[in-house]
Amino acid sequence: MNLMTGIIAIVIGGIYLVTAMLLPQMTMGDRLGPKLFPSIIGVVAIVAGAVLAFRERNPEKRSKKTDFGFVKHKSVWIKILLTTIVGIAYGLVMDSLGFLIPTTLFMLFITTLINKGRVVQNLIIAIAFAVLTYGVFAVALKLSLPRGFLEQMLPF
């Protein structure tokens, strides 16, 4: 586990440090400024990662193997992946379709994914959630939410 974390830190720290080094040198004022702090962080990430990875050489101090559970918890990972994709899609359609329809659909999707087989219950949760949150935020708290054709028809 620590070997993987160490390598991730070295790679990300390395890319970051190189990018920091490539920043243009300022000709006046705070010349070293924009580079100084990022350079220190990059070095810290690389050194910490290297020490962490190096420590794994000692079999006595070796950390346990990373258990992502890709096989054992395959269904969890599928749920995470699907939720992530649908969550991003939800955001992408919100501006054009308004709040109520995408929110109901998103909630219906996620409840169906997690609360399997209870179609009516899921439908009620999805619709109630969208209507209640719209009521609280857009109507009671008067916060602006995206308005699609459904919202345009509402008096508030």
């Binding site: 969550g87 997690i114 708290l141």
Partner: protein, 495 residues
């Protein structure tokens, strides 16, 4: 002393408006409910309830967030007592004696002492807070950039050294957080940094989006494994939610002595409620004449950590309010939300907006009373919420998290950042990379860099300025000392 009372009177004027009292009740109740749900703690509570604070004035927003915070502290142990599943890490200890009490048919007294101890701990913590904030804030007003940088450095170091876990992984988490904080246009030179050509990153990464990602979405993902959990709750056997004279005799001393301990731990960055509760439990067990009863339903084993936990949440407010430095995940979320509202907690809050600073403090005193009223008579109806299955709660939390994200910039474009942060947070949790240091570094990174650079400019390029300024040197020595302590402690544990 007189100044404190006049400030408190000013605060009461702010806190005692109908709007603010209403939000203390709403925030405290929502916090209690979220804190009670297994797996969800105060940080998640504040993160998903951020949108309700938008549109509020800053004082009301901070008052509401604080109410959610200590509401979650009140609620955290309900699930520990009733179903042996802690609401969050700081409620783990409450399982030790709380659940055995329930099994013995003493759930009523357990719920009662948990609320009473939370109230006593919170009130004592508040008194310390009231007397400490002004001197600390006044001292901090004299801080220049060198002192401020060293303080931030100490806070970040302490976050990883005083908490449990691998130091190096904590350091990596801090480095990642700082990296994220440098993305976007450099405020001092106008130079665009680390955007890799993506124009949308020019304004930097919205740290609240990351916070909602790692504290709400990641938590939901972590719970995916247990979605079919249904907890058996026998509310008929709870009985009267009150304690006997004998219970009071056994608990008043533990509550009084553990409240200052909890407060002190809360003030230190990185030492949250979980450490406070474990330390209090260990202390009481050592002091008890009947240590063998601990773990078998000893009421003081529940009272001591509960008092300590709430005092700890008051302690955590000290660095946030007086220095603008959050010492825990929850206070970091609160700082992030406040910065969105254009308020920067710190020493100047007490001089520029005393009505906000003292209004919040006064509201916490008031909220403590309101919460004990909510949590004693309403204990039985509240615990019924534990019957709501996880598989229904999780979608609701996910939905609220995304709606909250929308309100950050009134745009759904941040959903991408939130969802990706959620997955990365989940992977980090598998790699055991701690998330609170990353979030703290992300929030404090900008201030740390600015103060570092200002100090270097002031000293004509000499880094010795950090040692030449006495207060700055003290913070650096403290940072080194906590680091040495952490290394020695871990070596001892390994041996």
């Amino acid at each position: 002393m007189q100044a404190i009372f006049s400030n408190l009177a000013l605060g009461m004027q702010t806190a005692m408006t109908w709007t603010n009292i209403l939000w203390v009740i709403v925030g405290g109740s929502l916090g209690t409910i979220i804190g009670m749900l297994p797996g969800l703690g105060p940080a998640t509570g504040v993160a998903i309830l951020i949108p309700i604070t938008f549109g509020m004035n800053p004082a009301t927003a901070l008052i509401t967030m604080c109410a959610v915070y200590y509401g979650a502290m009140f609620g955290g142990s309900r699930a520990s007592i009733m179903i042996n599943v802690p609401g969050d890490a700081s409620a783990i200890v409450s399982c030790f004696d709380g659940y055995p009490m329930t099994k013995q048919g003493r759930a009523g007294p357990a719920l009662a002492i948990s609320a009473i101890a939370s109230f006593i701990g919170g009130t004592i913590g508040m008194l310390f807070l009231i007397f400490l904030t002004q001197p600390i804030a006044s001292a901090a007003l004299k801080f220049g950039p060198a002192e401020m940088f060293s303080l931030l450095f100490f806070a970040l170091v302490a976050t990883i050294t005083l908490s449990e876990g691998d130091l190096l992984k904590g350091l990596i988490a801090i480095a990642f957080g700082l990296m994220l904080s440098t993305i976007g246009i450099d405020a001092m030179t106008g130079l665009v940094r680390f955007t890799y050509g993506m124009g949308s990153l020019n304004d930097g990464i919205d740290f609240l989006a990351i916070i909602i990602g790692v504290y709400a979405v990641t938590e939901v993902y972590k719970n995916f494994k247990d979605i079919n959990a249904v907890y058996k709750l026998d509310s008929k056997t709870i009985g009267k939610v009150w304690i006997s004279k004998e219970d009071w005799k056994r608990t008043w001393k533990p509550m009084l002595r553990n409240s200052p301990l909890g407060f002190l731990i809360g003030v230190l960055p990185g030492m949250g409620g979980s450490i406070a509760t474990f330390m209090s439990y260990a202390l009481e067990k050592n002091l008890s004449k009947h240590p063998e009863e601990f773990g078998k339903g000893a009421i003081e084993g529940l009272a001591a950590p509960e008092a300590s936990n709430n005092a700890c949440s008051c302690g955590a407010m000290v660095p946030l309010l007086t220095l603008g430095i959050p010492g825990s995940g929850t206070t970091a979320v609160m700082l992030g939300a406040l910065m969105m509202l254009g308020v920067r907690p710190g020493p100047t809050l007490f001089t520029d907006h005393p009505e906000i600073a003292w209004g919040v403090i006064a509201s916490m005193l008031l909220g403590n009373i309101i919460l004990v009223i909510i949590n004693l008579p309403l204990a039985i109806p509240l615990v019924q919420l534990l019957r709501v299955p996880t598989r229904i709660m999780l979608p609701i939390i996910m939905g609220l998290a995304l709606i909250g994200t929308y309100f950050l910039n009134y745009s759904s474009a941040d959903f991408i950042i939130v969802m990706i942060a959620g997955v990365i947070g989940y992977i980090f949790s598998k790699l055991e990379i701690p998330l609170p240091p990353l979030v703290l570094a992300l929030i404090l990174g900008g201030a740390a860099e600015q103060n570092l650079r200002n100090s270097i400019v002031l000293s004509n390029g000499s880094p010795l300025i950090f040692l030449q300024k006495p207060i700055s040197a003290v913070f650096l020595v403290l940072a080194v000392a906590t680091l040495a302590y952490a290394i020695l402690k871990r070596k001892k544990q390994a041996a």
